[in-house]
Amino acid sequence: MVERALPLDETLHEISVDVGRVPLRFPARVPWAIAMVLSLMLVGLFLVSITYLFARGVGVWGLNIPVNWAFAIHLYVWWLGLGHAGTLISAMLLLMGQDWRNSLNRFAEAMTLCAVVCAGIEPIIHLGRPWFFYWMFPYPATMGVWPQFRSPLEWDIWAVLTYLTVSLVFWYIGLVPDLATVRDRARRRGWRVFFGIFSLGWRGSALHWDRWRRCYRTVAVIAVPLVVSVHSEVSLLFASGQIPGWHSTIFPPYFVLGAAFSGFAMVAMIAIVMRHTFQLGDLVTERHLDVLAKVLLASGLMTAYGYVFEVWDGLYSGNVHEIATIHDRFFGIYAWSFWGAVFFNFVPLQALWLRSVRRNTVLLFLIATSVVVGMWMERYMILTTSLYKDFLPSSFGIYHASFWDWSTYIGMIGVFFTPFLLFVRYIPSISIFEDKEVLAREHEESGNG
């Protein structure tokens, strides 16, 4: 018999309570406060870093010619990749009718939002003259000059903006009914006004539910190809150049898979942490983690295939420069990033073939972490190894991340966590009504069966 997403002894009301209490009577004040303070400190670091950056110029980073893209761009790819899981989980699994998603999608989407915001900041602060970033939008300027729509960078701007907006509204309309639930549970007037406003006066009318479903599914249907398109375009930012190691048709699928891979890992990490901190064990069950781990394994294997194929692609091309780049990735001075990516993305992952490991939260957490690290290295590898030795030996040069590279990146982690912490604090971080739906269905099944 199929394993249930939720335990039967749970009642609808308990779900409301379990989830609703998180915002209303916050269970984990102390750990949350600590986390918040830490992440605010990181935000401070970030602000200091970009202040210095804007004051002095992008030279404060370790960039040079030829390696004139490094941290900002590879982190842009990395953050965006982390983000994709949220949309995939909520949209794709919704369409596939995967019940287990309902306990994960809400905070997965929130994670997406935070990640996309970080991803959006990176390319703007990496500009030589960030105060002119708006020149990338088509507005009737007195200069009479327009943006250049053949540029992959132009594509990316629109892709990221669209993705940010879509993720936001998708997350929000899913949230409205739950905000209503919390509104009705709330005692203090402040809370009731707060949730009252953001639930827009949702009443759960059958007619509204009907429209809501159509709408939610429509958005889901569109969101899936969107994810694919967004990261494909990110990959085109590289593939459109003729630089060896970039100029390859494998890039779009390769990037999308890697993105999903790292994203699922991120979701797993967050799921495990929240499950422990907020005692949501009844809602985020072992089965959830188990399924998540399977997805992680699957996407990981696909990514590994991507690696193999990329190397094969280069060798098969017979192009001296491509082959040189591959050789360089294996043995060059940045080989650590290549082998690091291979190791962290592939080796620990294999443990997930074992059911026991999939259900062991600690191990799963560690494996997920290694994947996130591995993908970080992969993105770094793709940028530097291709740029620092491209065609002409007289132009080869090396790159070392400077202090400000690191401080900006580490600070950015705070920019990611601060809004996310606010979300888990003040907003039902698990979809209440969708879990109720599942539970009700299971009650029926058990009733009939």
Binding site: G128, W131, Q242, Y388, F391
Partner: protein, 959 residues
């Protein structure tokens, strides 16, 4: 005259200041036009520009809001001939080792902003060396000394004159007993004449020469041949054998030699091609361009000379050659014999006298037309620096005047000049910097830069140039002529112009002749007369090779003896072979390096070089060990010019002072030991990569059938864009490029390319728009070396343009890959996509807080780039536009050759040709049609407008 100004607006070639001088208002002109130049170091830039009344584009690229109105400040009296923004070209010269380098100085609003070669001058034919290009920056050097100093405190010329009058009187009384001049090399006829007059007036006065670039004792050439000036005529040479003579390297003759060499390269028939045999103790440009090169320990050079001599029946037989040396000697000697009349044996300036004697005899025997011996051009001193020191120590020197000499820094290590000088009652130093010697002299007198003073000089073929000022003197300086005149008169000495004019009075009696000479840039018929040489027979003593390490001491390839140390352009210019900037290294061979456990230099990630210590005679220098392909084993090469203390903010305290290893007796070699010492040095090199590539980027074609299969334009799925009647393009002949870097400095001067300093270069952020790639082939112990200048390719299907999201880099109908700085937001996508990586980025604000005097040098026709924008080679678009506008104004076509890019104009070998490819008759189009033509990375389908001609492989010997 034939040519037009490069920008097309200067209707006044050869225009000379004399014409202005004719009118009374000249004085006011100067006052009205340049007062701020006196002040420049102090006043702020706005002030300067105001008085200039010229609209200079100095500010960086700014945002959307157009700048608010500026002030417009007209003259009170407009000087005759002044025209707003007009560009004049004055014929004059700058000096290298005292020899004239004839130039046309491009001036805007009274400021020279660029030096071009003088096309009419027989010695240069319009080309310039990187030294000549960089001489301009010396004029604007903010660290120049600006007033007389008495024991380091600012004094007044009046004070000095008062002193001078007392001394002068006394000396004229005692015949100048104990008065000595220590003078840097000079070829100025006026100065030489003045010195003769001075010696007539003060019979006991003696003149000593100080020239660290030739040595401190008697000149070996003079010893062997008497006072003559050897002059190479490589255009007549078929076979050249060089024993450690770097005649293509930096120096006064570089342009002439390179020009002659190039006449026998490229598209000449194989039989006429020059064959170059080089035996050298350390890799040089000449060795890099030699077909048959061996590296030998310096102690072996005399042996090789003797061996070659033996083959030609001069000097006794030589034994003990290694197999390699034997083979080289045989083929070299064979080539010499086979090309009687067109053969040349040349030895290094620093070689001992017997070798010079031998070479001269050999060349005479071969009736070589490739070398001439001329009557001396430079000042022939009474005695050497060593004689001076001896006299000082024996207390015979009462007063020492040092003109341009800096013995305290550039003297040999075994003479402590500071100590010696204390025994002299009166020491006077005249120089452009308050340098190490000035610091220990009683008086320091600032002298003017040749571009702001009247003087004269002769080029290596003896042709005299009258050097006229092209800018009002920036500081309160006084010329050597005036100073010397001060010895002989009690009246205030006449000014330099009067003295020079007076010197030329008989040859250029009337003003017309004088003006003509000024306009032409040289005095016709002053070429040096041939001298008859009878080489004193001298036995070549061949010492047994000393044990341990042999140390070779050479001038630095860019800043040479250290005189150029405060010149940012020279410091940032990559040394031709190592591509190191801002530093001197200690070169050792790969094998020697291995024996010290040192890995090959500069593989990426190791711009850090291990430190190594060179010891000789108890003195040591420590510097970065550089593994130099082609360096002979057990030989360490150290380079002079660094470790300075008294030259200025740019040059002080960088590198190590190799003079510490120099002895008066043997200034060019030493023996000693190497010691690997702990620690790594950061060496800023612009080419971190030194693997042996083979001819992938620079293909070889056989001399017999010089054609290269590489297609220029691949097929494209895109329809070709409009083929206008103008299609700019450039063709670079890799067979002609000697890697001298003149193009880089010329580009830097023309296009306001900033100097960014050692740290930035180390970080990989040098801003040169044009780099000269250095490629090795073959084996590290004796590799083939090639050079490839790489400017922007101006691809017709440019990947960079495709990447820019804001249309900041686009294509013009005439085929230029435009870079619109003020539209650039700095995404750097263009550079990521550029397969040639020729784009440069303003990582910081490199321009705003440059010293005012540096800003005065900037080319007003080129935008000064601000922070955060991309920049790159523009094919000198300012010259193209200027010429196009001039042509459009009088509705005519642009003629081929009207537009020369800065790099093309400077190139001594005409390796670079620029022009309109759409005009089949243009030089560029003809070259592009050559079978040797190929596109760099053409297989990428970028359709570059800059293409190359393949290098011609050495054919078999045509005995």
């Amino acid at each position: 005259m034939s040519a037009r100004a490069p920008d097309g607006t200067g209707r006044r070639w050869w225009q000379s200041l004399e014409e202005l001088a004719g009118s009374e208002s000249f004085a006011e002109t100067i006052k009205a036009e340049f007062p701020s130049l006196f002040e420049m170091a102090r006043v702020d830039r706005r002030e300067l520009l105001r008085v200039m009344g010229a609209s200079l584009a100095l500010a960086g690229v700014t945002g959307c809001k157009p700048a608010k109105s500026d002030d417009a400040v007209p003259f009170v009296n407009r000087p005759p001939g002044f025209e707003e923004g007009r560009i004049d070209h004055y014929a004059t010269a700058v000096l290298t080792d005292g020899f004239a380098q004839p130039v046309l100085a491009t001036t805007v609003a009274g400021r020279p902003i660029k030096l071009e070669g003088n096309p009419e001058h027989p010695a240069s034919r319009g080309a310039t060396s990187f030294l000549t290009q960089a001489a301009l920056l010396d004029l604007y050097d903010p660290d120049r000394s600006q007033a007389p100093l008495l024991r380091g405190t600012t004094a007044d010329w009046a004070d000095f004159d008062a002193q001078m009058q007392r001394w002068g009187a006394a000396w004229r009384a005692n015949g100048g007993a104990g008065v000595r001049l220590l003078i840097a090399p000079t070829t100025s006829p006026t100065l030489i004449r003045q010195i003769e007059q001075l010696k007539a007036a003060l019979p006991k006065l003696r003149v000593h020469l100080f020239d660290p670039l030739t040595g401190y004792g008697a000149d070996p050439v003079t010893e062997a041949l008497g006072a003559v000036q050897p002059l190479l005529r490589l255009e007549n040479a078929r076979a050249v054998v060089s024993l450690d003579d770097d005649f293509l390297g930096a120096g006064p003759a570089q342009v002439a030699n390179a020009g002659g060499w190039a006449k026998r390269r490229g598209d000449v028939p194989n039989a006429e091609r020059i064959r170059l045999y080089m035996a050298e103790a350390t890799p040089t440009l000449t060795g890099a361009n030699a077909q048959h090169r061996i590296g030998v320990r310096p102690s072996r050079v005399p042996l090789l000379a003797a061996a070659i001599g033996a083959k030609l029946g001069i000097a006794g037989p030589a034994s003990g050659l290694t197999a390699e040396e034997f083979g080289w000697v045989n083929s070299a000697a064979a080539a010499l014999l086979a090309n009687r009349g067109k053969a040349l044996l040349t030895v290094g300036r620093h070689s001992p006298a017997p070798l010079h004697s031998l070479a001269a005899s050999v060349n005479q025997r071969l009736e070589s037309s490739a070398i001439e011996y001329l009557e001396p051009i430079a000042l022939v001193p009474d005695a050497s620096y060593l004689d001076l020191v001896r006299d000082i120590e024996s207390g015979q020197v009462a007063a020492l005047f040092m003109f341009g000499a800096n013995p305290a820094y550039a003297g040999p290590a075994d003479i402590d000049f500071a100590a010696v000088a204390r025994r002299i009652p009166l020491t006077v130093h005249a120089g452009i910097h308050y340098d190490e010697t000035a610091a220990i002299s009683a008086w320091h007198l600032p002298v003017p830069h040749p571009l702001e003073d009247w003087t004269d000089a002769r080029s290596i073929d003896g042709v005299a140039t009258i050097i006229q000022p092209v800018v009002q003197p920036l500081y309160d300086t006084r010329s050597l002529h005036t100073l010397l005149a001060g010895f002989m008169t009690d009246e205030p000495p006449p000014d330099a112009r009067a003295i020079v004019r007076q010197h030329w009075a008989e040859r250029l009696a009337d003003e017309n002749g004088w003006n003509a000479a000024l306009k032409m840039g040289f005095v016709a018929g002053t070429a040096a007369k041939p001298a008859t040489v009878s080489p004193r027979p001298m036995p070549i003593e061949v010492q047994p090779p000393p044990g341990g390490i042999e140390i070779v001491i050479r001038p630095d390839p860019t800043i040479r003896d250290g005189a150029g140390a405060n010149n940012g352009w020279l410091q940032e210019l990559p040394k031709p072979l190592t591509k190191v900037t801002w530093d001197n290294i200690i070169a050792i061979s790969p094998a020697t390096a291995r024996s010290f456990g040192i890995a090959a230099s500069g593989e990426p990630a190791s711009n850090r070089c291990p430190m190594i210590e060179v010891e000789s005679g108890g003195r040591t220098v420590t510097g970065p060990a550089w593994v130099m392909p082609g360096q002979p084993d057990d030989v360490a090469t150290v380079y002079l010019g660094y470790g300075r203390r008294g030259v200025g903010r740019v040059g002080n305290g960088i590198g190590h002072d190799a003079y510490k290893l120099r002895t008066a007796a043997a200034p060019w070699t030493a023996t000693g030991t190497l010691l690997a010492v702990p620690g790594m040095a950061v060496v800023a090199t612009t080419q971190t990569h030194h693997r042996l590539e083979g001819g992938e980027e620079v293909p070889f074609v056989p001399a017999a059938d010089a054609r290269y299969g590489g297609a220029t334009d691949g097929e494209s799925i895109y329809p070709r864009w409009n083929e206008g009647e103008r299609a700019w393009g450039m063709v670079i002949d890799t067979d002609l490029c000697i890697g001298c870097n003149a193009c880089i400095t010329a580009c830097q001067a023309e296009n306001n390319v900033p100097v960014v300093g050692k740290k930035q270069v180390y970080e990989g952020r040098e801003m040169h728009w044009l780099r000269v790639g250095r490629l090795y082939t073959g084996q590290p112990d004796n590799p083939g070396t090639m050079f490839q200048p790489i400017p922007c390719m101006h691809c017709e299907q440019a990947p960079c343009e495709m990447g820019c999201p804001v249309h900041a880099t686009v294509h013009s109908p005439d085929g230029l890959n435009l870079m619109v700085y003020n539209r650039c937001i700095g995404t750097r996508t263009c550079s990521s996509y550029c397969p040639y990586k020729v784009r440069r980025f303003n990582w910081f604000d490199y321009t705003t807080d440059a010293p005012p005097s540096i800003e005065a040098q900037r080319n007003p026709d080129v935008t000064v780039r601000g922070r955060g924008v991309m920049e790159k080679c523009t094919y000198c678009i300012q010259r193209i536009r200027g010429c196009a506008v001039a042509a459009d104004i009088d509705n005519r076509e642009i003629l081929d050759g009207d537009i020369k890019t800065a790099c093309q104009q400077a190139c001594p070998t005409n390796a670079i040709v620029f022009g309109n490819l759409a005009d089949a008759g243009s030089a560029a189009a003809k070259r592009r049609a050559s079978p040797r033509n190929y596109a760099l990375l053409g297989e990428l389908g970028t359709r570059p407008r800059t293409t190359y001609l393949a290098r011609i492989e050495e054919g078999e010997e045509q005995a």
